[in-house]
Amino acid sequence: MKKIMEIISYLSLVLIVLSPILFYSSKIDLDMNKLLMTIATVTWFASALCWMGHEKKAE
């Protein structure tokens, strides 16, 4: 489960950068860019909370 959350987190980070790049190359409009960045933000915080910070305790 933790591994899956980690993968989802990294994918959301990719989306945070990918969305402005798609907007830059005129593949999406600004509203779509805002929506994708918001979705990526919510996903990042929701998924990262499940695994980030827990690694240190494991060490």
Binding site: I16, Y24, M37, T38, L49
Partner: protein
Amino acid sequence: MSEEQQEKHGEFEREPVPESKTRGLKAFVGMYAGEHCAGTELMIGPLFVAAGVSAFDVVVGLFVGNLLAVLSWMFLCAPIAVRARMTLYYQLEKICGRNLVTLYNLANGVMFCFLAGSMITVSATAVGVWFDFPMPKLTDIYPNSVGWVLAVLAVGGLITFVAAWGYDMVSKVANIAAPWMVLVFLGFGIIGMRQFIEVTGTEVNSLSSMWALCKESIFTGGEPLEGQVKFTFWHVTFFAWFANMAMHVGMSDLSVLRFAKKSWHGVASASGMYVGHFMAWIAAAILYSLQLHLDPSNTDVLPGPLAYRAAGVAGLVCVIIAGWTTANPTIYRAGLAFQAIMPKKSRFAVTIGTGLLATLAGMFPGVAMKLLGFVALYGLILMPMGAVVFTDFWIFPKLGLKQYYAEHRKLGFNLAAGVAWIATLLICVALVKSGNPIFQLYFVALPGWFIASALYIGISKLTQKEA
């Protein structure tokens, strides 16, 4: 005390960090990158544009200035940190005596309060996007509306109570937010560039055409906006170099880098400089420049609306979190500095008091709108003590002078260090007031460092000889 006990009582605050507790380069890279991508970056970038910077000045100036900052961490701060392995406060106490350190703590605490205040200001601008109240203008010094005061009070109050109750929780949120926030800042830059391409109708298909867009539309140079100082290449370079002067030249980061295995690990600061103080400043500057391009009369530097126009809710969340997560440790540090002066007061009470003071400062937009000058002043005030530490550590043994003189003579106030600090500040203020452009607030800390070192050596020779 055992190592375990030392850690419980505050991480080797009164003895050198043992070799076994040192950390590798990686630990510092992440820390610096996160710490220097803060809410204030969203003010500084736009203020560069307001100061009339040109494309060359901002890009090359930031590159050179940040390089100088990294070199200062590597060659001034880190070598002492890994040899002495003590906190700045403990080292200063041995050099200056407890009473002088108390004065230093007071100055440090007050400056931290203003800095935290400007971070609260940044977060409060996001509230203005949801609630329709008049927000401060670039030239405003005092609060300009009841709505603004209430917004700052709400944000500052919340930050204060969380700092007092749940510091660990905020620290966790800050760690989680750091990688996301860096990428949102990058997104701001990319989005701003695209919008510039659209509104100017420029065709960008190579680096040279992008540079042309930067020169002709984004960073056009020219006169600064009303109330701002004109920034040249030298202003940008020195500003970037001295933006964290308190930490490198001023030696605050002795407390951090004493855990580094090697002194060259100071190079980790490059992650913070080139992510936060290069990429993030330029990205925020692009958004503000776009606002000016679309409406030259709209000179307001308001990170909330700027970020919202570019990235929607994600941008707003970025502004709130960037201000919140960096105001929190700043209030905490200010609280620590004040608690050293009032050790009988509880941490909770001191943090609440400190946070409310920062909130009060945040209500005055003059602090945030004049952030370039404030940051330069902050470094200048704490810099002379860094010169004292440097001189005491490296030069005193070569001159046959006694190191850690206050500890050696059991002094509460080392006159040489105290005079070096206060006299340097007075001389620097006089130089700034002289009106000579080479002694502007942004540059004066450089001669100031040599003045502080010379005064400390000269007065120490006299006082140590008498003793």
